[in-house]
Amino acid sequence: MTAAFQTLLARPWIWSFVGAGAVWLAAIAFTGGYGAGGMLTAALSLSVFTVIVGVGQMFVITLGPGNIDLSLPANIGLASAVAMKTMGGDDRLVVVGLAAAIACGLAVGLVNYLLIWALRIPPIIATLSASFIIQSVDISYGRGLQIKPPPGFADFTNILIAGIPVLAILTVLFTIGASVALHRTIWGRSVVAIGQNQRAARLAGLKVEPVRCATYALCGALGGLNGALLAGYFRGANVDIGNEYLLASIAVVVIGGTSVSGGRANLPGVWGGALFLVLLLTMLNTFGVSAGVRLLLTGLIIVAVITAAGGEKPVR
């Protein structure tokens, strides 16, 4: 019994869930137990959006040091506009709108990869530059009317089953699928191999560039999906809707136990990290702290977590 318990403790993602639990307890302690359930429901709802992009970012980061997608906020913003304009408030066009948003995100991912591969630009700069351009596209495309989502779609993003958001259940299923892809497909195996040792991966016969392309495309597509869902949940698209998801996507990856230098991915941890972050913000809001303290504490906690985790030991 203790052996099983020990292996459980050894898993890095456990700590993110423990942290999330601790923060939730602190919050309801402050409110005297009031609204505990509602807090959890809201947290699950909000975590969904971080998890979706967190998974995409996780795969990109696992590709190895220097791989990161900084174009996520701009991508999300643009996709939200594309989704809302395509749906045009019509419930029958919901699927088309979702497809359009995902396609838009996929295109962003491919553009990112093209810059990285063809122009040999480091991913940081490539995705950064791309985000500038995407932002401009979004501003000019999304200018004008604030387009509302179709009522059916907006309601769907808010449905609860026994207090648990449907969106959360779907996202859990999605995470499970991603886990299977990570461990049991050639693509997933390749991503981890490339992250550990890109040269060795190439020399072992793995198709490095196609795998990287697919990974960046996937991250982009997930960003697009997220944009559409966010527009539905918050009942409207706008340019800045994705701004907080850059740090959030990286933070949940790191807090969840994925190695930032690549080669080691952790999917359950993304959920744990997302819950932790959302509940942390909820707790801080409950305590009534100001925006400044909220930012300060978020930053300090991120630094603390990465310091505790430590970096890769240099290979001798």
Partner: protein, 490 residues
Amino acid sequence: MGDAGASLVDFTGVEKSYGAVRALDGADFSLEAGECVGVVGHNGAGKSTLMHVLNGGVAPDRGRFVVAGEEQPHWNSARARALGLRCVFQELSLCPNLTVAENARVVHPAIWGFGWRGRAGRLILAKLDEIFPGHGVRPGDLVQDLTIGRRQMVEIARAFSVSDAPARLVILDEPTSSLDAHTARQLLAHVRSSVESGVSCVLISHILGEVLSTCDRIVVMRDGKVVIADVARNFDRAKLVGAMGGIEPEAPRTQAAAATLARGEAPVVVRVRPERQADDREFVAHEGEIIGLAGLAGHGQTDLLLATFAAASHPRAGATVAAPVALVAGDRQSDGVFPGWSIAHNIGVRSLKKFRSGPLLSPRLESELANAWRERIKIRTPEVHNNILSLSGGNQQKALFARALGSDARIILMDDPMRGVDFGTKLEVYDLIRAEARGGRTFLWYTTEVEELKNCDRAYVFRNGAIVAELARDELNEEQVIHSSFAGVA
């Protein structure tokens, strides 16, 4: 500064293990002032590790150190530097983004203040002129612009250069590996003259001829121990090779002679023309052959292997490969091992398509492959799902072999794969390679140890990125290889 003959360094019983890897197993090493000691041994015998212990870069698990007559309970690199110990290792330690003069400053902290750049530049230039007249290096050159040969010259000159403290001991680890014959001769001449003026030298080299002609004493290492140490004139090549451990049994040769004839008529599976080839020589391999790539290290052998590797998926004019290839890396850390994975994952990574059952990979099929090869190649581990770094160096290399041999590849490229592998493992793998070749697999084998070439049917000698000679089986020895390397070069 002791007079010649005084003991400078006396290390006894040095032990060092890295996890499961026993790098040093009770080695003794001593050195006097004003003498040149040669250290020889196979890859993996412990030579480099011993030198790292000597220069304080690696702390041994056990050992007794007496330096300049004094007992040293805590030997570290600061003390080694204070003693006047300098090293030139195989991994070059110049900073590519700095100039030659700035790199000289790095090891001479005493050069600072106004005009430091000029002083450092003059220091390194003077030493370069002294050791390598006609070198063509300027102090303002950026290191990343220099050729490998010139970088090695700068590194060597830097090791011998003196600003405030004298250099009493210079360790040279394969210093001629990137130099041409002329420059190598200059270096060895300088070693002799330094030794005569009181500086001690340690020379590690695969080229036994160099060691025999330059050193006063020779030390032979094997499996982490010093097996024999004696004055140089008591050694000859055969004795050294014997002590290192490397006499090939005669039997396979006679059997193979007949087989070679048969192979000569087998279909061509590899035909590659090196990029720098000026004449129309090509690298050709028939099915079932074991072809060696020889010559001085870094003269295009790895490039040819990589070109062959690339040609398997992207054929081009001048490079045709008729079957799937796999590569066995020699530099495990940078080219081969996935350190976060288990042994099974490491073995299976080249064969992922084989494990597909439906759309997903089957862990069961992967384990089966790993266990099968654990038996066949005798990887010493209780469980293939352990992390790969739990294996000793030799066994890690075996896992890399299993990766290549367990795949569907018919052509196996080997990039000096026996580095850091103990002698017993090498013999096991040689047998396996020969068996696989009899079964129709083709092996392209780049090795820096000339003795290993005896496993091959033929060998191509490389020089400056091109093939300069093709050696038949009976010509595969050090003299022939060296001679062919420099034939036609001034």
